[in-house]
């Protein structure tokens, strides 16, 4: 499903260059639940951005479902994001002026168009049927993250990418979010990659990849 071949990412920092990823080679099969762990600055987020087609590698190959995406144009990458990838962020990234339902519908705008019924179904799946008309400020952190999951879920993505999804939540809400993600993985066979600091959360995953200074130190093969 995901096939990374010797991926590097170099950022220009003034006159010097900062090498964030130093030759990552990684295979992830369809339906896996994978945690990526590592200290700050190890390149976790950069790796996730590359996997999510928000950025392009400096060199190397990235095949997503057998398709080479590392050399696609910005417009084609956007299309891949819209159709295949569901993002879940640490800071939720909901639009504060929209209701939960409208936020979920936003997930469909660039993936074929709004379908109200499916938005409500997705909210029901994360247990928010009672709160569809609430705005993010009226929801708890855990509920906001559930709206974000519904937004990612609504377009039937093949890949879920979660960047520290529990980083801003208390441990109880964090457990809830993880159990929703694991049950989606179990019921719908969605491939889930999550970046986390929390070993407890990582322990729910089938595989843990450790990253340090832009290199994989453990969990390379499954």
């Amino acid at each position: 499903m995901i096939n990374l071949q010797d991926i590097t990412k170099v950022y220009p920092m003034g006159k010097r260059e900062l090498t964030v990823l130093k030759g990552i080679t990684l295979n992830i099969e369809k339906g896996e639940l994978v945690a990526i762990m590592g200290p700050s600055g190890s390149g976790k987020t950069t790796l996730l951005n590359l996997l999510g087609c928000l950025d392009k590698p400096t060199s190397g190959h990235y095949q997503l479902e057998g398709r080479e995406v590392s050399r696609l144009s910005g417009g084609e990458l956007a299309k891949v994001r819209g159709q295949k990838i569901g993002f879940i962020f640490q800071t939720f990234n909901l639009l504060s002026r929209l209701t939960a339902q409208a936020n979920v519908e936003l997930g469909m705008v660039y993936a074929g168009g709004i379908d109200r019924k499916r938005a409500l179904e997705a909210l029901a799946k994360v247990g928010l049927s009672e709160r569809v008309k609430h705005r993010p400020v009226e929801l708890s952190g855990g509920e906001q993250q559930r709206v974000a999951i519904a937004r990612a879920l609504v377009k039937n993505p093949t890949l879920f990418l979660a960047d520290e999804p529990t980083g801003q939540l208390d441990s109880h809400s964090g457990e809830e979010i993880i159990s929703i993600l694991t049950s989606l993985h179990a019921e719908q066979g969605i491939t889930v990659l999550l970046v986390t600091h929390d070993a407890n959360i990582a322990s729910h995953c089938q595989r843990i990849i450790h990253l340090k200074d832009g290199e994989i130190t453990a969990g390379e093969s499954s």
Binding site: L54, K79, V109, G113
Partner: protein
């Protein structure tokens, strides 16, 4: 359809979730468009009013006055001070020039008018019965003096509506007598009130033959009777230029002017005056429109300013949209359409306000205003154009944002 619906709802969200800002953005366009509509309506209304009053006098009217035409260079005789036009000239024109339907010579003189205790000094015009046809006069009561009155020099008079009001008030003037320069004259007709510029509301008419008895008759060296102007109408307006040419050559030969001499009379046709006035008026209308267009431009710059701020403020939203699969042109179109919809609604509201103001100004009698479809269409399309033009740069800015950085911004 589904896609279009999603798209419109996206744009609507952008506008409706920032209501105050959207309203303020619109306001500049509303004021600009309303100003254009109102000023153009005033300009066009004034033009129409002037042309209407010319029309009421008869656009086929041609007037000949003595004296050279006014022009630049050299001192010329003042119109009216020279005495070159005669009744015989008028008769010759009536007989010899084709396409002339009526000719009315007239002679004006200041005479003392006395009615009861009212005593005024006023200009009196002696003319022929043809004057009614030539000047499109409308009779309110009584009748204009007849050919028979003219032939025998009857001491009868026809009064303009205002002068009748001054002399006789509300009482019926027909059959009343008044003193005019020492003579007793009888009122036989009163004219309809016309309220047009240069209209006959303040005029007093008597037969030219009666006038000749009241004031000392001036004669030219050839013994012809001097008059102060000749008015004539043409039967076919398309032949007005031809008639002016024919009259000119006829008068030149009658006045025995050499080929190097200048005309000792000047001819003005209403058609010519109407053309000059409408040209001047449309220039003025354009100028008014241009002034209003500046406020529209300022409104457009306001749109750009607010759209730029809006893009900055919504950086994270743009990042989220990109993460959800929005392409550059999706974002670009979103912001562009948002700007265009704002200015379009501003334009429509501006048209409605401008139209209402123009309507009330007109119906309250302050000014004549005319709102034409072309101005409305122009104003609305210009306001959409402004949205697209001034929204272009902010929208492009938005579309170029890097999604990763945009998502990190607060």
């Amino acid at each position: 359809m589904k896609k279009l619906g999603s798209f419109l709802s996206t744009v609507w969200l952008g506008i409706s979730t920032h209501k105050l800002r959207s309203f303020l953005t619109m306001l500049g366009i509303v004021i600009g468009v309303a100003a254009v509509i109102i000023l153009m309506a005033i300009g066009k209304g004034t033009t129409a009013q002037i042309l209407e009053s010319i029309e009421s006098m008869g656009s086929d009217l041609i007037t000949i006055r003595p004296g050279a035409s006014f022009g630049f260079g050299g001192v010329r005789g003042t119109g009216g001070s020279t005495q070159t036009l005669t009744i015989e000239d008028a008769e010759a024109i009536a007989e010899e020039v084709t396409y002339v339907s009526a000719v009315a010579p007239s002679y004006s003189s200041n005479l003392q008018l006395v009615v009861g205790s009212e005593n005024t000094n006023s200009s009196v015009t002696g003319t022929t019965p043809e004057y009614v046809e030539v000047s499109n006069l409308e009779i309110a009561s009584g009748a204009f003096f007849t050919e028979y009155d003219y032939q025998r020099g009857a001491k009868v008079t026809v009064l303009g509506a205002n002068i009748k009001e001054t002399l006789f008030g509300d009482t019926d003037a027909i059959g009343q007598q008044m003193r005019m320069g020492g003579n007793i004259v009888r009122v036989v007709g009163v004219l309809e009130l016309q309220e047009t510029m240069m209209g006959p509301d303040d005029s007093i008419f008597i037969p030219l033959t009666a006038m000749q008895q009241m004031v000392a008759q001036t004669r030219t060296a050839q013994g012809e009777r001097v008059i102060s102007s000749i008015s004539l109408t043409v039967s076919d307006e398309a032949q007005a230029d031809y008639v002016v040419e024919e009259v000119t050559s006829l008068l030149r030969s009658r006045h025995r002017l050499g080929s190097l001499d200048e005309d000792d009379f000047n001819i003005t046709s209403m058609q010519e005056i109407a053309e000059t006035i409408s040209e001047t008026a449309s220039t003025l209308t354009l100028l008014l429109g241009a002034i209003a267009a500046i406020s529209l431009l300022v409104g457009g710059i306001g749109v750009m300013n607010i759209m730029l701020v809006s893009v900055l403020e919504r950086t994270r939203e743009i990042g989220i949209r990109k993460a959800l699969g929005a392409r550059e042109h999706d974002i670009w179109i979103q912001f562009l359409i948002e700007a265009a919809i704002l200015t379009l609604s501003g334009g429509v509201i501006g048209v409605i306000i401008g139209w209402l103001v123009a309507y009330f100004v007109n119906s309250m009698g302050i000014m004549t205003t005319v709102v034409t479809a072309d101005v409305v269409i122009l104003a609305v399309s210009v306001s959409v154009g402004i949205g697209l033009f001034f929204g272009f740069y902010p929208a492009w800015n938005a579309s170029r944002l890097n999604p990763i950085e945009a998502l990190r911004s607060e």
